[in-house]
């Protein structure tokens, strides 16, 4: 937010503003936009999958294209849609919830976003350059090593770049929460969404490096003829599976914990009640994260690790049902005795409880190793993870978007359309995925390009496809709602839901410095305390004074562009060494940006006290 940018008008200035912004709220918009775009892309890929499976031995997609479709659907949805959408919500809300003016590393925040975005674009460029990756989102070696063309190369580099961005985001949130809480905001007074942001970031910090290493090994094997997964030279393909799942299981909790957090906030707001068992909720979150690191081999029950390993991992996996159960029952207890308002944000939260419970329960069924010999790699697993991911994470994202839309964009989404979208989505979702449990057990493995005639699988698949289209309709209604709201939506007050946490204490949308004066927190649900026991608004913890703001910068964008170019270089240098130039140019650009960044002093600027005084409250 440089002074110059606010004075100029027009699209160019607007664009420049977003390209250079280091404001966490604008970066949140970018994340939501980017993640939303990839969600639509992943959704369209899902529809292609379902069209192909509408009837037996269908030839809508070719075999190779089908494998590209599922790979890109899974990869896009997990890395480029669900996670960034959560990062967007965290960016928008978490600093407000702890009464901070900014995040710890505004520059890194922007860099993180642009790395994610360019990584995602790089990955999707594969569609136009000879074919997408086709070895599944898990990219098991040696299939991924032998996969012809450059598809898997795009996978390794795209994920490497966007993964680096995510890691930065995680560290940024951690430090923000450790050092930048407003006075009185102790750890045990933080809203649950902030807590889950914290724990999720810890998971990102410890899980992503394993993926980073795995991707390096894959990249080296494919591009530089190393022998990690080359059995003839002593390589071992199970290493990839371990590295992938050491990352992969924590990853699924990265996808669900933020949702748990925001549901906690939503349930307590719309029940007008304090969250039941706050302490237990916090510890359950930490316990889930901790256990989440000890269960990865449940994806590998059939690899042949032996009965001892299978038993240990089976029990560790089942144990996660306990802290998760604590959460489910605490949410129910929060509603119990409350005064429940049902609007579209709350509907998504209410839809989540039965959906996620089903998904979680099938998860525990999968954890029973011997039963998993039957479930593994069948549609039962597909059903399980869509119940938890769609019914948990996607419902969570949608709940969060409806809940915080006023705060983020200053307008309230249309209720009628919100409710319609919810019901259609809920019905479509259950139609699509419930039946898949049975399809799996009836002998339909996953990642099957075609299923054969006369195997009793036709009806189930047809129902499933119909459901997917209903979800598509719901998504379109949501899009219309967003456009409608942008054009003639109702303007939002600062606190439309009678909120309890600090983000509702400031205007919607918040000014770019968030809090004119840092608020003083007197307990859990600080705004609620002030409403019931105080003046109805936050007491400032400091006298009005100058506010220090960071400088905007285009460097993150250029740096990410550099890595993007270098990514292409790496992929194509195998074909022609001239591409090494792109590698050097790209990395060089990034390094120069880094150098500029570290040599130049960035002291930021101050908003003067007088200017703040002039602004209305």
């Amino acid at each position: 937010m440089s002074i110059a940018a606010t004075q100029k008008r027009g699209f160019g200035a607007f664009l420049w503003d977003y390209l250079t912004t280091v404001d966490h709220k604008k970066i949140a918009h970018l994340y939501l936009f980017g993640g939303g775009f990839f969600f639509l892309l992943g959704g369209i890929e899902a529809l292609f999958i379902r069209i192909q499976l509408i009837k037996p031995e269908n030839d809508f997609l070719s075999a190779g294209l089908y494998n590209e479709m599922i790979t890109m659907h899974g990869t896009t949805m997990i890395f480029l849609a669900a996670m960034p959408l959560f990062l967007g919500l965290m960016n928008a809300i978490m600093p407000l919830q702890i009464g901070a003016r900014d995040v710890a590393f505004p520059f890194l925040n922007s860099l993180g976003f642009w790395l994610f975005m360019f990584g995602g674009i790089l990955l999707n460029c594969s569609w136009f350059l000879g074919g997408a990756p086709d070895a599944g989102w898990t990219s098991y070696a040696p299939l991924s090593i032998q996969s012809p063309g450059h598809g898997v190369d795009f996978y390794t580099l795209g994920l490497q770049i966007s993964g680096a961005g995510t890691l930065m985001g995680g560290i940024n949130f951690l430090v923000t929460i450790v050092t930048m809480r407003a006075p009185g905001m102790t750890y045990m007074r933080m809203p649950l969404f902030t807590w889950t942001t914290f724990v999720t970031s810890v998971l990102i910090l410890f899980a992503f490096p394993a993926l980073t290493v795995g991707l390096f090994l894959l990249m080296f094997d494919r591009m530089f003829d190393s022998a990690f997964f080359d059995v003839a030279l002593g390589g071992n393909t199970v290493i990839w599976q371990h590295l992938f799942w050491i990352f992969g299981h924590p990853e699924v909790y990265i996808l669900i914990l933020p949702a748990f957090g925001l549901f906690s906030d939503i349930f307590s707001t719309f029940s007008k009640k304090r969250l039941f068992g706050y302490t237990a909720m916090v510890f359950a979150t930490i316990l889930i994260a901790f256990l989440g690191f000890m269960v990865w081999a449940h994806h590998m029950f059939t690899v042949g690790l032996g009965p001892v390993a299978n038993s240990i991992f089976a029990i560790a996996t089942m144990a996660i049902a306990v802290p998760t159960g604590i959460k489910i029952f605490n949410w129910l207890a929060t509603m119990w005795g409350g005064s429940i308002t049902i609007n579209s944000a709350m509907l998504w939260a209410l839809g989540f409880i039965p959906s996620f419970t089903i998904g979680g329960m099938t998860g525990v069924m999968l954890a029973s190793a011997v039963a998993d010999y039957q479930y593994h790699d069948t549609y039962f697993v597909v059903a399980h993870f869509h119940y938890v991911i769609v019914g948990g994470s996607v419902f969570g994202i949608l709940a969060g978007i409806h809940y915080w839309y006023p705060k983020m964009f200053g307008r309230i989404l249309h209720e009628g359309m919100g409710k319609a979208a919810f019901w259609i989505f809920l019905i479509g979702f259950n139609l699509t995925f419930f039946i898949q449990h049975f399809l799996g057990l009836m002998g339909m493995p996953r990642r099957y390009w075609v299923f054969l005639e006369d195997q009793g699988l036709d009806t189930g698949n047809l129902i499933s496809t119909i459901g997917a289209f209903l979800m598509g309709v719901a998504v379109i209604i949501l899009l219309i709602n967003i456009i409608y709201t942008a054009v003639k939506g109702e303007k939002a007050p600062a606190d439309p839901w009678d909120g309890r946490t600090l983000e509702w204490a400031i205007p919607s949308p918040p000014p770019f410095y968030n809090f004119k004066q840092t608020p003083l927190t007197r307990g859990l649900d600080p705004l609620w305390i002030e409403k019931t026991e105080g003046k109805g608004k936050m007491t400032p913890a400091e006298p009005l004074g100058d506010i220090h703001m960071p400088d905007g910068s285009i460097l993150p964008f250029i740096m990410s562009l550099g890595f993007f170019v270098a990514g292409f270089g790496f992929i194509y240098q195998v074909d022609h060494s001239a591409w090494l130039l792109a590698v050097f140019a790209g990395i060089g650009t990034a390094l120069i940006c880094m150098l500029i960044r570290s040599l130049k002093d960035y002291h930021g600027y101050h908003i003067k006290k007088e200017d703040l005084e002039r602004e209305a409250d």
Partner: protein
Amino acid sequence: MSENTNTNSVNSFQKKRNKDEMKKQLISFALMIGFTIIAFTLVATKAMDKMFIIPVILLLAIIQVAFQFYYFMHMKDKDHEFPSMMIYGGVWAAVLTVATLLTIAWW
């Protein structure tokens, strides 16, 4: 700006504390070098059986690393609760990872 850099601005009490600290760090350095020499000698002279040498040198490495973290990197000081939490978190994930991948070799 360099005129601001005034050596005398650090008071003598702090100076003494810094010195004491430095002494501890020197001792830990000496121990680290000692451990390294022991580890190399053990291997070079094959003084013990393989079954003993490996655990012993691993133990020496771990102690050395503890010195690095606690003295050189000040993890023993107050204000380092979060750093040590994160390092131990990392170590936890690291131990699991290494232990699992090690089993591949015995498969």
